[in-house]
């Protein structure tokens, strides 16, 4: 996984509540057996009409925002289906940070597995960033994960101010170091084996039920 340290980029405003993962990446793109190339399907039914033509006024189709690296959006972003194709599609499109008042839990987890930083901010801060992004005033934001700050740079050269954000220390470390989670866990193999030995003793039904039917 690519590390996340600092990110400077254009912020695209998507002023919508409860954006679900079906909207982020519709079902027809879930038939792939690869993680790559999903950017083409990102927000497909909003970016393209039924004939496959670009819908010009959708935010990510507008010239100002089609190179966006940051998405500023509404609450409960990423609700619904657990499909990791949603963060894969965002990443493939070039988005590595999403700023919202709240996130759905599974999507939030999936972001951290893919080097995407989801930033939760109070609604008034999100509204301010959204307004700036819509006006094209602070379309460039710098997200500094180590310092846990977002700094805006307005197009007229003025200082857009800085906002602090909170992040779980474990998730922060994983992003900063670009960990392979599995390698990290496998280092605790002895603890896992110890847990299993204890459970076999205390809860044998967890281990016998499967084999009674004859295994695979």
């Amino acid at each position: 996984m690519e590390k996340f340290t600092t990110l400077t980029g254009i912020a695209a405003p998507l002023a919508m509540e409860n954006v679900d993962t079906d909207m982020i990446i519709p079902k027809q793109f879930l038939k792939t057996i690869k993680r790559t190339g999903l950017g083409a399907g990102l927000f497909y039914e909003h970016r393209f009409d039924e004939q496959g033509e670009e819908i010009a006024d959708f935010v990510l189709n507008r010239a100002l925002y089609n190179g966006a690296k940051i998405l500023v959006t509404g609450g409960n972003f990423g609700c619904g289906s657990s499909r990791e194709h949603a963060p894969w599609a965002l990443l493939d499109f070039g988005i590595r940070c999403i700023i919202a008042p709240s996130f759905a839990d599974i999507f939030h987890n999936n972001c951290f597995k893919n080097g995407i930083l989801p930033v939760t901010l109070p609604r008034e801060d999100v509204d301010r960033l959204m307004e700036g992004a819509e006006r094209g005033a602070n379309t460039t934001l710098t997200v500094d994960l180590e310092a846990q700050t977002i700094t805006g740079a307005s197009s007229d050269g003025g200082d857009g101010g800085s906002i602090s954000f909170h992040i779980d220390p474990f998730n922060k470390q994983c992003l900063l170091e670009g960990h392979d989670d599995i390698a990290l866990t496998l280092k605790r193999e002895d603890k896992i084996a110890g847990f299993e030995a204890g459970q076999k003793q205390d809860q044998p039904w967890q281990w016998t039920g499967q084999t009674q039917e004859g295994g695979t």
Binding site: D22, L30, I33, S81, S82, I182, R188, I192, E196, G209
Partner: protein, 468 residues
């Protein structure tokens, strides 16, 4: 944590393998359900890293999202769907995971077959790369959906990094009125707390109405916990739970069964346990529900009307309602019972079990699907289908003008050939009414199986209580 523990606290504590800074825990995972859509990249990851599956015996796989629900003699037409299903079978063979293939009578929707086989047991941690894993919480198991990276993590290590959830309790007391089902209960709950109402929480459903439900009804309730934003749903295991599980193929037997039941009886939340948040509903006050919008929180009693965006004081809500009504092609103030439909879909992991089909068939018997409507019944598994056919339910449906299908996810998410055309309107027993969920431009109204039959017969959304 206080000395009194909730059901969630007990399961969580008994599965912690290790703790990291900030409260994140390495949690042991007892059971892993696998399907074809969210697993191929996980198996590829294992292969690329030269890793193995830690416990193939703790996993069970089944193709469900892509499978055709009509004649399967010719296999799967769509080459991408076929590749995904074939890839699942190849991966399971390579890594030694049991898989119920398309020709197996036990094949079906992953959340139907887990309980059916006794793979799902109380007190367990259960995961699947699918958000409706919350279904298994009906057994008092901590069950939640995960992404593909986490699927790979579980395959390799049988554990997951998780932060503890908060406890929420929703108590539903009293008796449900005639024509009111478990689906109406969960839709009413989501309507009340909202689609993000449970975010960060595990919802424990309690109260006399929940205790009085069958296992299948409890599964319907827990299934849609994710639609309230919750990480999982939970119901305390009791005699109903044990009676359901006893004798299932993968459930423990003999002395070990007795030992298991004794343990399961200790799982229910302690009196005095702390909940971060509580909600109460009066069962008698719940009417049959239908969704009118594009989020599961956009529901109303069937006796109600389509809301007026102008009446919303919050601008974000107003915009959301406007947007939903535009997509759904509905006028503010219209009576819900006047909304004409084109399709009926009975099935899904929410409402594709035998009791759902029995209730639907009882209402369909002697009636006819309206001439303008295409109506389909898709059993949740091969075993549900077989049972229904033994009881003659297939003939009841066919005589009434419903189509009778092979098991799978089908039109709940329209990854196979079963889908809506733009602007077609569907009375659906599934769980999501998102834009495009059942086909691009398709319009979904969520409801119970009984309400779906009422809609099929009358040609429009209809109060099932008026059909008696």
């Amino acid at each position: 944590m206080s000395e009194f523990c909730t059901l969630f606290d007990k399961i969580w504590t008994s599965h912690v393998v290790d703790r990291s800074k900030g409260g994140t825990c390495l949690l042991y995972i007892d059971r892993h359900l696998v399907h074809e859509v969210t697993s191929p990249q996980a198996f590829e990851g294992l292969r690329d890293a030269g890793r193995t599956v830690r416990r193939a015996d703790a996993a069970l796989a089944v193709p469900d999202h892509n499978v055709p629900t009509t004649d399967r003699a010719e296999g799967i037409d769509d080459p991408e769907s076929r590749l995904q299903v074939d890839t699942l079978m190849r991966n399971c063979e390579e890594f030694g995971i049991r898989c119920f293939t398309m020709g197996d009578l036990r094949q079906g929707i992953v959340h139907i077959i887990g309980p059916e086989q006794g793979f799902t047991l109380p007190g367990m941690t259960i995961v699947c790369g699918d958000s409706h894993t919350s279904t298994h919480g009906a057994f008092g198991a901590l069950a939640f959906g995960i992404g593909t990276s986490e699927v790979e993590h579980v395959l390799a290590t049988q554990t997951l990094f998780q932060t503890p959830a908060k406890n929420m309790r929703i108590t539903v007391d009293g008796e449900l009125g005639p024509g009111v089902t478990a689906k109406d209960v969960i839709l009413a709950i989501i309507g009340k707390i909202g689609t993000a109402g449970g975010t960060g929480h595990v919802i424990e459903y309690a109260g006399s109405a929940i205790a009085g439900m069958s296992m299948e009804e409890r599964m319907t309730v827990c299934n849609m916990s994710i639609e309230a934003g919750a990480r999982a749903g939970l119901i305390a295991p009791d005699k109903t739970t044990f009676d359901y599980l006893s004798g299932r193929p993968l459930a423990p037997k003999g002395a070990v069964w007795e030992q298991a039941v004794a343990h399961w009886r200790t799982l229910p939340s302690d009196e005095g346990a702390h909940y971060h948040c509580e909600e109460n509903l009066d069962a008698a006050g719940i009417a049959p529900q239908v969704s009118w919008g594009t989020s599961p929180e956009q529901v109303a009693p069937i006796t109600g009307t389509v809301p007026d965006p102008a009446a919303q004081s919050n601008p974000a809500h107003r915009e959301a309602v406007e947007r939903a009504l535009d997509y759904m092609g509905l006028a503010p103030g219209a009576r819900l019972t006047e909304v004409a439909i084109d399709h009926v879909f009975i099935g899904s992991c929410t409402n594709g079990r035998i009791e759902d089909l029995r209730a639907a068939a009882a209402l369909a018997e002697g009636r006819k699907v309206a001439a303008t409507i295409t109506a389909m019944v898709v059993p949740g598994s091969g075993l549900v289908k077989e049972q229904a056919e033994e009881e003659g339910l297939d003939r009841v449906f066919l005589e009434a003008g419903f189509q009778w299908h092979e098991p799978g996810c089908s039109m709940c998410l329209a990854m196979n050939a079963d889908k809506l055309e733009p602007k077609e309107r569907c009375a659906s027993t599934s769980n999501r009414n998102f834009e495009g969920r059942q086909g691009r431009g398709g319009r979904t109204h969520l409801m119970s199986p009984q309400m779906a039959v009422a809609a099929a017969v009358s040609g429009h959304l209809c109060d099932v209580r008026e059909m008696a």
